[in-house]
């Protein structure tokens, strides 16, 4: 064996093995986190609403997601008559693919450092908890999450159901409207970091001090969170599903595992936006007290969990917008606000900022522009 492998091939093999291991671990951890999230969300909502939430399956009801999953596997598949069969099947598959692929570039916490153990290495390499460290990181996510709207449009269109159709249309228009603001809110971050790579952004925050970074980017953070909430169809922007208006909106005809996949995609998208926010604005895996407490992936997960909690909290607190209010808010408030922030931030940077960006990044412009204008 040894003789067959040239050092270069060996390198590739090791990288591939590491890649597969990382992928398998991250993939499954996300799956676990997703199922935990459904449980935690229900418990938190229960807590906020003077109920108990699921508490019967396993200790503290923690096996509830597993029970739900098993139940959904055995549920009968229903196919509404007149449905476009291919698109009806394609919608949940597309939803899952876009949800997972967009997570590829999210760093989950820099180099893996375990408490009481130190840096973890595999085949003598430090482990970076990230599937793919692309130079165009943010743009990649932007491009892939935008594809997610297809699954909703497919689902709405293919079901041959009026409620689903209205939900699908609502959803596409809503996601379009808020994607603009979402994209613009990143500009100031990119400007300050001088890179699309999420690792670089965290590094830039570390150079500055994460608190300072958050303070400077705070308006962008607020805009981002609002737009992100609309992008993942959470209350108060849950109009595409609108339980009491459109019954279940675009997935009204979905049952069994297809329904579960749609839900899963939605939750993973929610995790994506929160993971992004914690990397871009909250300093990812940096500790909140630099120098006092060590950096750790745990910080990243804590920050992401905090943001997820905010989403759940919002769901328990506010009613839903009306459609015209949603559109008005998106186009007449959020987008102008984001644009003004870009102008303001760039103006301030031009006047007070220092020139530090390495010239190498210029090479990224061409592919980046190509990615964005899809």
């Amino acid at each position: 064996m040894e003789t067959l492998l040239t050092p270069a091939l060996k390198e590739i093999a090791i990288d591939a093995v590491i890649g597969v291991i990382k992928l398998a671990v991250i993939f499954n951890v996300l799956l676990l986190v997703f199922s935990l999230m459904t449980y935690i969300e229900r418990r938190i909502l229960g807590f906020m609403q003077f109920r108990r939430g699921p508490n019967r399956t396993g200790p503290w009801g923690i096996l509830q997601p597993a029970a739900d999953g098993i139940k959904l596997f055995f549920k009968e598949e229903l196919m509404p008559e007149g449905a476009n069969k291919f698109l009806f099947f394609a919608a949940p598959v597309v939803a899952i693919i876009t949800a997972y692929v967009s997570l590829a570039v999210v760093p989950y916490g820099g180099p893996l450092v375990l408490p009481f153990y130190g840096p973890v290495s595999l085949f003598g390499r430090p482990i970076n908890i990230q599937i793919a460290d692309l130079d165009v990181g943010i743009l990649f996510i932007f491009a892939i999450t935008a594809l997610g709207v297809y699954s909703i449009v497919f689902a709405g269109y293919a079901s041959n159901n009026k409620y689903a159709l209205i939900g699908g249309l609502r959803s596409s228009a809503q996601m379009f409207s808020y994607e603009l603001a979402l994209g613009m809110s990143w500009v100031s971050v990119i400007m300050a970091a001088g890179s699309f790579r999420l690792n670089d952004i965290v590094a830039a925050a570390e150079r500055m001090n994460p608190w300072m970074w958050l303070l400077i980017q705070f308006p962008a953070f607020v805009i981002y969170m609002i737009a992100a909430c609309a992008e993942v169809n959470r209350t108060p922007f849950d109009l595409p599903e609108g339980e009491t208006e459109l019954v279940a909106g675009f997935h009204v005809e979905y049952s069994s595992m297809k329904f579960a996949l749609m839900q899963m995609a939605e939750y993973i998208n929610m995790m994506t936006v929160c993971a992004l926010a914690s990397n871009m604005f909250l300093g990812g895996w940096l500790s909140p007290l630099p120098g006092v407490i060590p950096n750790s992936p745990l910080w990243f997960f804590a920050k992401m969990g905090l943001l997820l909690f905010v989403f759940i909290w919002l769901r328990a607190t506010v009613p839903r917008f009306r459609y015209d209010q949603l559109m008005n808010f998106g186009w007449k408030r959020l987008i102008p606000a984001a644009a003004i922030w870009v102008v303001l931030f760039s103006g301030l940077t031009a006047v007070f900022g220092e020139k530090k960006t390495p010239p190498s990044t210029v090479a990224i412009i061409a592919p980046a522009a190509g990615q964005v204008s899809r």
Partner: protein
Amino acid sequence: MPSMQALERDQALTKPAYRILSEKFGEKVSRVTEYRGDLAITVDRAAWKEAARTLRDHPELDYKLFLDLCGVDYLNDESRPDRFEVALHLYSVTHKHHIRLKTAVPEKNPTCDSLTDIYKGANWFEREAFDLYGIAFLGHPNLTRILTHDDFVGHAMRKDFPTGKRFVSKKPKEWLLHVPKGSEHLVLNVGPSHPAMHGTFRVQVLLDGETIRDAAAEIGYLHRNFEKMAEERTYWQIIPYTDRLNYCSAFINGHGWALAVEKLLGVAAPARAEAIRVILSEFSRIMDHLVCISTNVVDLGAITPFFVVFRAREEIYDLLDSVCGARLTVSYVRIGGVAQDVPDDFDARCRKTLGWIREVADQMENLLTRNKIFADRFKDVGVMSKEDALSYGWVGPCLRGSGVGYDIRKDHPYSGYDQYDFDVPVGTVGDCYDRYLVRVEEIKQSARIIEQALAKLPKGDFITHDRKVALPPKSEVYSNIESLMNHFKLVYDGILAEPGEVYGYCEGANGELGYYIVSEGKKYPTRVKVRPPCYNIYQAYPEMIKGTMIADAVAMIGGLNVVAGELDR
């Protein structure tokens, strides 16, 4: 029929309604009676429509509020030349007066002029009379069945229609709307099985994007013909049926029924019973308002207020449970009093429950009243003008939200409501937000009433001693012969009301809940007509949602508090 006799002419002329009508229509005003304080004028069929118009438009009369229209079948009354009668109930908010206008309709040609262009609310009531009695209303825009389905044969409320006869609906009605040819708008059914339709009723809407261009409603999914059942029950056997009308505040229905029968019989309940009735009615009202507000907010997508509010509702249910052993359908009221005395810890329980209500009301206000999204969703949505509200026959919080301060507890106090100090909140705009605010304020006012009633809860009997109305206590039945005979007679013969007719009413959670009872002196009433508040209210709904968005339509329906049990009866 001694007391139902027509008034002498000079006596009748003291009634402005009679004076003006007889001046205008002369001989066509055939009869005027005043029984138990109810003024009833009978006119010829030819003058029916114009008489109604005069009652509405004459400044001295001003009967602007449409209450009820129903048919009555006098099949067994030999003295009447015509078999059917149509009875119209109106109310004048300015003069605080109820009136009943009647006209006889023969069996051969059961037709009558439609009042739909005088009172908007007459539309569904005339359809109901057509559906159940087969009386055709000339000039009605859409005279179709409303409570029964299209496969139904015959008219269920006619005395010669067998009680047990059933028909199966083969197919639901597909089209409620008339959609112009070539229209590319979406026709969408909302309900009967839709999360925002609390109960089972259906609206078909014509959608242009998000905007509703046209709408039509269908009801009757929960119809069980309570009124027909009531014609084969004694007066007290009807009490449990009334619980199923507005099941969110079941006690008030029974209270109203007892009041109506007491009015018919001319008896009164003891002071203690009345005070207990007031307390439980107000608790039921609070409960109804809480359910209404919280489900309305769920429709808007906020789930938490629902759970906040339901804790207080749960406490009220526990209170009812301790009083009568039942939670939802209490059947606690009796003709002439209540079923049993309240438990010893009643006062303490009530106060504890009031504490909960206060807390919940505060939390609700924090969660909702100052919530920007909530206010934006409610303000200027579903605006109902004062005039239209009266014409449709809106009552209760919805009418008060539109700026008419008509509350029976204030204007026609019953059960001792005049002893208590409380305010009647009135809205200004008539939108969903006003209706919401009125309900919130009414919760607080009801709590005030309860406190006062608790403070001076009189001692004494909880049911009348009139042995023609109320059963004697069991201990007496077992120990003395007179009571045993009273008991036997009452159970065997029922309460025998003298021939006559009354319209008894009380302030239900949704507004004026009326019972029009016709007695021919028998064991069973000849006719019981419920005037269900939300029947009028829901009738306006398809008109209200035209030109608004789906989300607005959903925001409106909850605030109207349509309860299917009461709507479909």
